[in-house]
């Protein structure tokens, strides 16, 4: 895929999952592409609303987001203001629960049972299940129309390698969406990545783009 075609992947009202943790590991070129394509009314699912590295903050700033499913918005004052003004719907999920819900979505599971959130406001509206005398919350799977992923290296078959702490949510969101689009810092020929080092198999990747240098 060429960058000029990337905008055509996205539609108004879509659910988009993104990799990244405070912007580290979020594909900045794809976030800009969504903005440039004029896409709006998005539901975004990922760890947080970005900053200090921008991450998805640009989409929130330009009011392209209707609903956010994240573990944290504390580093992005704009997200907090839009939430308090009733302009942005925010569902907060504990980080370990959020990543398991995404994993469940990609793994064909009907949900996960977690002790996290028992006895807190997180349990409101959820089914509580007792197993061997311990209470767990049933947390439901999450899926998306499109996942946007940042990789350090991709081969032309879509096998991916991540760099350091930029891995975070990326390998999980790559399994939980109908279309997976990757922005990679380097694209190499098939066979150049040691099969032992592949963190996301190319079989789940639909499109690869070479990250543009600033």
């Amino acid at each position: 895929m060429e960058w000029s075609d990337a905008g055509s992947v996205f539609r108004d009202g879509m659910t988009v999952m993104f990799g990244g943790f405070l912007g580290i590991g979020t594909p900045a070129g794809l976030v800009s592409t969504i903005c440039a394509a004029g896409i709006k009314d998005l539901t975004l699912i990922g760890n947080d609303s970005g900053c200090p590295v921008p991450g998805i903050a640009l989409l929130i700033e330009q009011r392209r987001v209707r609903r956010l499913v994240v573990s944290h918005i504390g580093t992005n004052a704009t997200a907090g203001k839009q939430m308090l003004a009733g302009e942005l719907e925010v569902e907060l999920s504990p980080q370990g629960t959020l990543i398991e819900r995404i994993r469940a979505g990609g793994a064909g599971l009907g949900g996960v049972l977690t002790p996290t959130g028992v006895g807190t406001i997180v349990e409101q509206g959820k089914q509580k299940i007792s197993i061997n005398g311990q209470d767990f919350l049933l947390e439901l799977p999450l899926r998306a129309d499109v996942a946007i992923v940042k990789a350090a290296r991709a081969d032309r078959a879509g096998n991916l390698v991540y760099d350091r702490a930029a891995r975070n949510f990326n390998p999980l969101v790559a399994l939980a969406a109908d279309v997976v689009i990757v922005e990679a810092d380097e694209i190499v020929d098939v066979g150049e990545i040691d099969p032992d080092h592949v963190a996301t198999p190319g079989a789940v990747v639909d499109h690869i783009l070479l990250a543009r240098k600033n």
Partner: protein, 219 residues
Amino acid sequence: MDAKEIIARRIALELKDGDIVNLGIGTPTLVPRYLPEGLQITLQSENGFLGMGPLNGTPEPNVVNASGQPCGLIPGAAFFDSAMSFTLIRGGHVDATVLGGLQVDQSANLANWAVPGKMVPGMGGAMDLVTGARHVIVAMEHTTRESGAKILKQCTLPLTAAGKVHTIVTELALFRFIDGKLTLMETGPEATVDEVRARTEAEFAVSPDCHPMQLHATR
């Protein structure tokens, strides 16, 4: 010695050689500088690695702590995705978590993630850490800036987890929950049991061995 240093020094002596430890933001990040000589711990960073260390030389753009700040790595560090990171946290593979608190109560409940109407940043990884770590240590100043109690009969703010706190360390006191009962084990430098009582709303027992806090490793 200010309150933060007293708290960090005392918590450093709670950790055991070989522990996997997750440190929250603020005072908890001061703990490593007071570890007894020769004691090694491994720091877990919930954004996806074990073996976090101080920043050494040029920062690498993708080596950051869970606050997004550049950090370093120790030899033997390991990176992984967020599902693995929280498998370690929730699955009891993290020996200790040290984190700040807005309120703790006598039922071992912690509130540290939201003040409704004022600050609702989200819980991030805090709920999983407090639920899953083997030793949950709350590091906080004993009272609010307005001298209000933070160790209460019952938390009024939204809970981070219910009944999961093991140890509370403030500049005035070290409490543990012993058989479910909040118990004063140690008093801070120059603090008395009466002073702790005056600044604590919660009901607590005083351990028969209650003694002044030790702040330096003994050899």
